[in-house]
Symmetry: C3
Subunit: 327 residues, 3 copies
């Protein structure tokens, strides 16, 4: 006999106000059919695939919040990423690759210890086009798509409270491996963000500085924002990267418009990398996507994206459709 | 303080008809003591062991179903196998080795994307003797015991609705590795089944075709059925395999009889493999098992199985007893 | 929409006495900041770190108990360890490294099959100082800190019922690898304990015998106890180890005292290892710790520990503070 977890709603229905939930089991599963041709990082052969994580990365997790009294709460999250198409974990080394934190929150904001998102990442996802989905071509076009450590081991993160729309966050990752194994990748990392979010307006700045054990470093600065006109929402972000060996200047813009249960998205991204040695690399691309809400938790989607590396005369194109279910 | 998941029954009891369950946490744990002597694949030394998965493979998982209205549902399952005797996962590469799917169902049937059972496997387990447990000697005797891919990555599966007892299923696994890494094992796979199940009668046919990246292939055809007389249930299956290099012809039959909380099983399996080069290999064996239901969820069991490879004059025997708990 | 697991308390509140819980999802998360200088096993450089498992090892698990009637119950537990600072599992080879068992309990006691704690370990943790936390310097000082197999694959464990305070346990781990892979580590293990626990008094004896595949062996004998005066609790343990190549004699003592929500701990440990060849190795150290209960489930803590290897003139010191949350 399988027993089922029950919505908090039951609490109210049962009038059991004193009972506390201590853990929430949650997840997001995404799978679809795609047609991909990748001349840039692949072999240029067109392929049909059943893929996971077409719209969003799949995951499952446990989280909870305990009221300690006096406005103080204890919070935790354990979150694993995986692919629905194979059942494989997002990272074979980590049971909870996406997030693993424990901390406290109160009127001051929150402090979380563990494997946190850096403060920079929060803004990057917030101002990304195409609702920060994998449909957005930003990750492919931006040189820092897979460049910065977007989840930080051995880190502490502070999120401020919201002051009339203003808020901020600071995260620090201890570079614990630095001295122990010279040459190994250090996670020594500082990141911060400031944000103004009020009604239709969003404006934000974020910084991340990654120090590597080999002496190299990466520094990212991002400004971005969005305005929601109701009929359409506009967003944009401009990022500069100064890394040992090369610098990037890159931007992306997006438009989305809701039509009942359907939302339509358009995104454009442009990147220029200037290496200390060699020629400038320019990339640009766009994406088109539509989502249809079958319910609050279940979404059908379809999308197209393409980008090119200029001068190299090489192109990537992908078209796909699928389903995303949240529990 | 440990908090507990609660049966759906609470919903009714609480009169909270509007609340929905969104995830069910479930599992099956099996462990027992066995005495094994394996001259065929082992060293022939008799050993006592504490083993997991003696009656059934152990597992845990999450699954759920959301009503989307109009008869449509969104469904998912994430299922991991493991051994209770060591805590080890069934497969170290996959977080959810047994199943990982997301899909939709309705009056038409269901469509699931992800890591699915092939349609062939469903019939193979349905007509297997000894209630398709690990007590059944079929897996050891049949050449295709570990031969066919019984869970298919990158696959889509359609299950039809039931039409007066008739139903069918089709599954397709995209051979995504085929062109990318020549020589690597492809999972390109087509499978289908048709079934008639009505009252005491079960009759079924299933096909599976596996194409390998190295050009080799495997084709399985299975017919099987069962009849439940009440006092005894009979079942049988006949399978042919055409694989590059050899062909198999194999069958198995089984009888089971309930006596109150106890059920007694007998199974026999016979296999003949004709290689293109070399001598025919014949295997046969039988098993005897009994289960005792301590409750609907908890079962004590004992069993014996043996099989031999003819002409090789080699034998495998195992006797064991244990407990299986389902949650 | 995230749905939540609900306390058993809801059952009573809802008057749904007939509904049964079948699985409990639980966990413990620990993270803190530490300053460590390790001249003994490390490089002697002082480091600041964000660490997990400072007070207790982090874990999550599933467990359940089913009433079979007549006083009999079916029980299971699946428990995984992990580090909150990185999300990494305690052991990469095992999905449920800490415990994986299924069994029965009744008026006779309980029998569990799977990956069990040996009976010896239960007493070792029970009489350890500093509430058997990682703050206790015992694990560093005792030669058998990481020496004995403290979770046993392929094992069966019997726990007796409590007879006026007297109880006992026996565990046996089948050395299944012994003959199969000569030279491989066998888990062939016998362990037992007897215990008297009544009101403020605890007295216990435990034995563990580990046979290795290479012919070597380890035998541990431990006596220990505790007395709770209310204002302070005293505990002590004395262990001897006879292993192939060397013998240990070691003891540890501890004091703890509660002050409202705060509890203060002091522990001391001393060890002497006599190798068959070479000089005696002496280690000793102490720890000081304090915990503050933010709630029953959430604890803030701080602690200091240090130990030295005599004659080698080398020292380990660590100071840290953090938070532990149980769900």
């Amino acid at each position: 006999m399988k027993k089922s977890l029950i919505a908090l709603a039951v609490l109210a229905a049962a009038g059991a106000a004193s009972a506390q939930s201590s853990v929430t089991l949650y997840g997001r599963l995404d799978a679809g059919l795609v047609n991909v041709k990748d001349e840039i990082n692949g072999d240029g052969v067109t392929r049909n695939k059943l893929e996971s994580n077409v719209l969003n990365n799949s995951l499952w997790g446990m989280k909870g919040s305990e009221d300690l009294g006096g406005g103080l709460k204890a919070n935790f999250v354990l979150e694993q990423g995986m692919s629905v198409d194979t059942g494989a974990p997002a990272n074979a080394e980590r049971a909870f690759h996406r997030q693993a934190t424990v901390g406290l929150s109160g009127s001051f904001g929150s402090v979380d210890l563990g494997r946190n998102y850096p403060a920079y990442d929060t803004i990057r996802t917030l101002v990304n086009n195409t609702a920060d989905t994998n449909m957005a071509v930003t990750n492919e076009v931006f040189a820092n798509g897979g460049d910065y450590t977007n989840r930080t081991n051995n880190s502490i993160r502070f999120n401020s409270a919201d002051y009339s729309g203003f808020s901020g966050a600071v995260s620090y990752g201890f570079g614990e491996n630095k001295d122990v194994t010279p040459g190994a990748k250090s996670t020594d990392q500082v990141s911060l963000n400031v944000k103004y979010a009020n009604g239709p307006v969003l404006a934000a700045y974020a910084h991340l500085s990654d120090k590597q054990a080999d002496g190299s470093s990466k520094k990212y600065n991002l400004i971005g924002g969005a305005y929601d006109f109701g009929v359409v929402r506009l967003n944009a972000g401009y990022n500069t990267t100064k890394r040992t060996g090369s610098d990037d200047k890159e931007y992306q813009v997006g438009v989305s418009a809701p039509f009942g249960a359907t939302t339509v998205y358009f995104g454009y991204a442009n990147s220029k990398t200037d290496p200390d040695v060699g020629a400038t690399v320019k990339r640009s691309g766009f994406d088109l996507a539509a989502t249809y809400a079958l319910s609050k938790r279940t979404t059908a989607y379809a999308g197209y994206k393409t980008y090119e590396v200029k001068d190299a005369n090489k192109e990537f194109t992908a078209v796909g459709a699928g389903i995303r279910h949240v529990f």
